[in-house]
């Protein structure tokens, strides 16, 4: 177990130290701050573990290795390392977007660490696969267009999501760090993470996940249409499916109450019954 994954991934542990562990993995685009609006609902009863994928947020940029992070396995390995280093077990792993598949890969590799998975807006493959009759929602040309947009707007998307000149009187709780660094990363990392996200095919992985899972499906999500969420549900051996009213790709940001309630309800309904009462 290599030391230092806590520092490398800028891991933060919040909430109730003796509570069950819920770990949140952010998706393509931003960093652990994405969970800010959702996390408060978990703090009183759970130990909450937040981290940044290497290359995002305040992770150690020097640890970014183009080889290691050319597939979701590199990211999944980091999650396993964090759990081992912190000595976690029975972890509820919540993964958004590509991190839903990263979570599935971590759980397939080390089922002993995780009690349940929550997959928020998951997609095992964004590109359609006509021969297999699979609809991911995008053509290969669409993804090329995305990578082009990312490249041609390099400074625009990846680094220069400009710090606001105006103040933000509505949201005084947002610290300086959030307003200046949120969603910023190095452009070449953004490019590679986009490739990993949008060119990964994790369909074969789903059948190997033995951990109980919840698929949280958004409405009007251009990245993960409902048929994709259904596909994930059908192919995960032990999974539940929940349709959210929340629209867009980030329900934990746009509808934190609904999303949090859905996760908590799932955790309660599937909680292992304590032996003393069952007997």
């Amino acid at each position: 177990m290599p030391p230092g994954s806590v520092q490398r991934n800028h891991v933060r542990v919040l909430g109730r130290p003796d509570g069950p562990t819920v770990m949140f993995a952010h998706g393509f685009g931003c960093d652990q701050n994405m969970w800010r609006r959702l996390v408060p609902q978990f703090l009183s009863d759970h130990r909450v573990v937040l981290f940044d994928h290497v290359g995002a947020g305040r992770s150690d940029m020097d640890a970014y290795d183009f080889g290691k992070y050319s597939s979701i396995d590199g990211y999944a390995g980091d999650i396993v390392e964090i759990c081992d280093e912190l000595g976690l077990s029975d972890v509820v792993l919540v993964g958004h977007s590509i991190s839903a598949m990263i979570a599935a890969a971590a759980a397939a590799a080390r089922p002993d660490l995780f009690s349940r998975l929550v997959l928020v807006a998951p997609s095992p493959r964004y590109v359609d696969d006509r021969s297999a009759g699979y609809v991911g929602g995008f053509t290969a040309a669409d993804i090329d267009g995305l990578l082009d947009s990312l490249d041609s707007n390099y400074f625009g998307w990846a680094t220069a999501m400009a710090p606001m000149v105006m103040g933000n009187p509505d949201r005084p709780e947002l610290g300086e760090e959030l307003t200046t660094s949120f969603c910023r990363t190095r452009p070449e990392i953004a490019h590679q993470f986009a490739r990993v996200t949008f060119l990964t095919d994790a369909r074969a992985l789903l059948g190997r996940v033995v951990t109980s899972s919840l698929v949280l499906q958004c409405s009007d999500d251009i990245l993960a249409p409902v048929e994709v969420g259904r596909y994930v549900h059908r192919h995960l051996p032990d999974s539940a499916f929940r349709q959210l009213r929340a629209t867009g790709h980030c329900p934990h940001v746009s509808a934190p109450e609904e999303t949090g309630a859905a996760i908590l309800e799932y955790l309660r309904s599937t909680a292992p019954v304590p032996l003393s009462i069952a007997s």
Partner: protein, 584 residues
């Protein structure tokens, strides 16, 4: 003129007008991006009917890549931070064409009564540049109208006394006007300048074609001068072939433009009695100031300067030196620079450009120096701005191009390879219609292979007028020369546009290179620039490389060429060639 009514609170209709006809697109959307309200500017720009876009999620109007990025970056930022600023997107119009745009948005959180709303502004990236130019023009017009008001009183004199032949003010009226300027209760109009214009060879027109022809010429000159100056200027004819123009030249550097404009209108050929005459004149300029507070002294100084222009070869202008005055000092230096160019006081120094892979000398950047007769060797920082402001930059640029091509054509190959030369082009040269001809002529005259000549244009110059720059660059690219974007990263970077230009090389600004190993941000920018250059198939060049550590980082990043003090400072050509020989 009726004064404007005091500004009152705009009516609802005025607000509506402001919204609908704003110079950028305004939209209001919900958190889900659905468009609830849109102004006419947006509809005009995209070609959609209002009914087609209301209720449509805004991102649906972007190409798919931008849709994804907006949903992974833009919307979370809006929700978490409350705003995004100037995100580069493309908007697909009704005709299917993509329109480059900059999008800013701010979100107002939901209240008990109202859902959250997102206020979006979309600028056409092209139009935005045009608006910036219009804003500048409007400001200049406002300044002009203000000075017209100030001059209203003085204009009365204009009507009072005039020259019977040309209708211009006569000497008495001019003197009266100047006296009023000096006697005024307030301070003297800043930059009040008097141009004394004496036609060259007027006597020979009179002698050979007769007095009537001479009068016709004077009338033509009077008309042209009147047409060439601003409404606030005063034009007079003193006697015979002597004219005067008085105007405020608040920017000392503009005096060159002012004088040059007068000369060029006069130089237009005129047909008199079937004979084509090309009028020319000698112009002397004096500024009203401490030592010229009377009309007589001001006229006297301008007359002396005119005389100097006459003896220096006619059809030219001179400014009377005004000591203890930085503005006048600047004018004197413009004259000096003009002569410096003519007298061959400029020299080129060369800084080698090295291939990072292997370390071979690739070429040299030519950098101009001015061997000033009294001030010693001056670097461009001390005179380029002067050259640009005074319009001398064209002559300067033409000289540099010619000299660099001539010298480079004579260089011996180093290690079996011909050395190239890189020359900087100013924004004005880029806009110069003769540029392509100048380059072609220089290459042909000195038999230099076009691929050995690199022309460097700053990013800012490209963005001043991207369409015009594109045309110029395309014409230059057809010659086979290498085109480089200089100071990359410091200007208005939108790669969407840069990709349109036929560029072969991207020069990373030295300020970023200096940050290598010091600032993560700079390192990321340099890395991005290199990667970007390679992504669009062009070379990356780093300037200002001073340390071996910087060289090593650049080599690791895959940067192609480097220049800087680490290798050599810019040196005279002999020294440069010795340096190259020593490398072999």
């Amino acid at each position: 003129m009726t004064p404007l009514a005091p500004v009152s609170v705009p009516s609802a209709a005025a607000y509506e007008q402001l919204f609908q006809q704003a110079p950028c697109a305004y939209l209001l959307t919900g958190d889900d991006g659905r468009i609830g309200w849109v102004n006419e500017t947006f509809l005009r720009w995209t070609g959609y009917e209002r009914s087609e876009v209301i209720g449509t999620p805004l991102p649906k109007l972007f190409p798919i890549g931008d849709q994804i990025l907006y949903s992974t970056h833009g919307q979370p930022l809006l929700a978490m931070v409350g705003a995004v600023a100037e995100v580069a997107v493309e908007v697909v119009g009704r005709d299917g064409a993509r329109r480059p745009a900059l999008l800013s948005a701010a979100r107002t959180a939901a209240t008990d009564d109202l859902p959250a709303t997102v206020r979006v502004i979309i600028f056409s990236a092209h139009e935005r540049r045009r608006y910036e130019r219009e804003l500048l023009a409007a400001r200049r017009a406002a300044e002009r109208s203000e000075s017209q008001r100030v001059d209203a009183e003085a204009d009365l004199h204009h009507l009072a006394l005039h020259d019977s032949l040309t209708g211009l003010l006569n000497r008495a009226a001019l003197t009266g006007y100047l006296q009023a300027q000096f006697d005024g209760s307030g301070p003297l109009r800043p930059g009040l300048a008097l141009a004394f214009i004496d036609l060259d060879h007027f006597k020979s027109v009179n002698d050979s074609l007769g007095h009537r022809a001479g009068d016709e010429l004077l009338l033509t000159v009077a008309d042209r001068l009147r047409g060439a100056v601003r409404g606030t200027a005063v034009t007079a004819r003193l006697s015979g072939d002597e004219f005067v123009v008085v105007d405020a030249v608040t920017e000392p550097a503009r005096i060159g433009e002012f004088a040059q404009r007068l000369l060029s209108v006069l130089n237009e050929p005129v047909l008199i009695d079937g004979v084509e005459v090309v009028p020319s004149a000698s112009i002397g300029i004096a500024f009203a100031g401490q030592d010229t507070r009377t009309p007589e002294r001001l006229l006297r100084h301008a007359d002396i300067a005119m005389y100097r222009a006459k003896v220096s070869g006619r059809n030219s202008w001179q400014v009377h030196p005004q000591h203890n005055d930085p503005a006048a000092d600047r004018l004197r230096r413009v004259g000096e620079l003009r002569h410096g160019i003519e007298r061959g006081e400029l020299v080129l120094h060369y800084q080698p450009r090295i291939e990072l892979d292997g370390g071979a000398v690739h070429s040299a950047e030519a950098l101009v120096r001015w061997q000033h007769p009294t001030r010693g060797l001056l670097s461009p920082g001390e005179f380029i701005e002067l050259a640009e402001d005074s319009g001398l930059v064209r002559e300067l640029g033409a000289w540099v191009l010619e000299a660099a091509v001539a010298e480079a054509a004579g260089w011996q190959p180093v290690a079996g390879r011909r050395l190239g030369v890189a020359v900087n082009l100013s924004p004005r040269q880029l806009g110069d219609r003769n540029m392509v001809r100048l380059v072609t002529d220089a290459l042909q005259r000195h038999r230099l292979d076009p691929s050995l000549l690199t022309l460097e244009i700053t990013e800012t110059a490209l963005m001043l007028d991207p369409d015009a720059a594109l045309r110029s660059l395309q014409a230059l690219a057809r010659l086979g020369v290498v085109l480089a974007v200089d100071d990359f990263g410091t200007g208005y970077s939108s790669l969407t546009y840069l990709k349109r230009f036929p560029i072969d090389e991207l020069k990373i600004d030295q300020s970023f290179v200096a940050g290598l190993g010091v600032s993560d941000g700079d390192e990321a920018i340099v890395a991005s620039c290199v990667q970007l250059a390679h992504a669009i198939g062009i070379h990356a060049v780093a300037e200002g490389v001073e340390t071996d550590a910087q060289r090593a980082s650049l080599a690791a990043l895959g940067c192609d060429l480097a220049q800087g003090y680490l290798y050599s400072r810019p040196v005279p050509v002999d020294e440069f060639l010795r340096w190259c020989a020593a490398q072999g």
